[in-house]
Amino acid sequence: MTRPGAVVIVGESIAGLTAARELRARGYDGTITMVGREPEGAYARPPLSKDVLRDAAAEPGLAYPCADLDLQHVRSPAVALDCPARTVTTEDGRAVSYDALLVATGAAARRLAAPGQRGELVLRTLADARAIRERMDLAASVVVVGAGFLGMEVASAAVARGMEVTVIDTEPPLRRLLGPYLSGRLAARAAAAGVRTHQVAGPVGLVGDPVDGVALPDGRTLTADLVVTCAGDVPAVDWLSGTPLANPAGIAIDERCSTSLPGVFAAGDVARLGPPSDRGTGRTPFWSSAVAQGKVAAASMLGQESPLLPIDDYFWTEVLGLSVKVAGPLPPDGGPTSVEGDVDAGDALLRWDRPGLPTTVVAFGRKVPVGRLRAIARDGDTTTEEKP
């Protein structure tokens, strides 16, 4: 492909913003139009479920500067893609033409409310985080539906704010993502901090209008001042309906972030490399993966090769004040093959070495640079004193 005359990026996400920055870094001086739904523009989302739930003072620091990139901003949601005409239509009625298009619309929270049922709280945007924080200001108890990393981060914030916290899931906390060993350790930590975890046999429903409780599969109902749904995310492909990209499992991309449509690329939480899957080769809705894919997509939009792989599986979370940083395939099975440090004290480096496969490495409450974690995951580590 020759140099595109006009680049359009849909989604003021970290994937979208990274792509814009990479386009400029690669010398592209044409028009870049960013189409986004957030009135405030791009901001960092990882702190939403951590600092922002505790303190409004964290908000001003979230915005991402992009004034140096000479971007055209359209702050209205994209509602349609016309591939033959190569235009994106926005909610406010504009038609934006592209030569190369990057879809970086991310994912939306999966909701559990029945049609018409009001007051379900989810956490995906700054507005969501504000709404939950303001409700927490007045609440003494919270039920969190979902014990994945988002659910446990919300639970952690609620505990820090002195609330009574119950977390509901069909599996133990963080089991799907982090495997049985880390799940057990972190569940114990949560229990010690006063978080009640409630394992249920099947799907739950929300009760009340507005929502004020959760209906359990055994017929009982749990009520609380606040109910927060943290039940996963769904790729934001609604606006692509009528195109081959509108796959609810995510937009299929190749290793250049190309889609099945000419001139259309995708990156970040909305994209899926490989077949649909809960783990491994499917969507990798992590920050560092969105950054990596944004860079690859920018190179591809310019018809250039990228030296980067579009997947970066560095991931982190924070559970009851303990930071957990992970590189390598998830979830690690069984117990770690080596432990350096003290897991109980929350200061350890854990490894899962498997012959012929990439290592999974976890910094458990210990500060370890991401570069070292990636090096261990990639090819084993030579600097550690621990024997494998």
Binding site: T18, P46, G61, A63, C66, S288, S323, P369
Partner: protein
């Protein structure tokens, strides 16, 4: 161009050190060092500096004039 680092909120992910290794590094204890503290970012480092600001998942880097 100057950069303000909010060290209290830094979580040592170190993504900035990958974007702009001449400006940012992590020591053996993974504590961040910013090498242009108190001075202007050199002209040839400014684009990388902005990429580093944008790469921080906890948004603790800020451009100041």
């Amino acid at each position: 161009m100057r950069i303000h680092v909010d060290y209290d909120r830094c979580e040592s992910h170190g993504l900035c050190t990958e974007q702009a290794p001449r400006l940012f590094s992590l020591d053996d204890d993974a504590e961040l060092t910013y090498h242009a503290e108190g001075s202007d970012v050199p002209a040839d480092q400014q684009a990388l500096a902005r990429a580093a600001i944008a790469s921080c998942p906890v948004a603790v880097l800020r451009e100041s004039s």
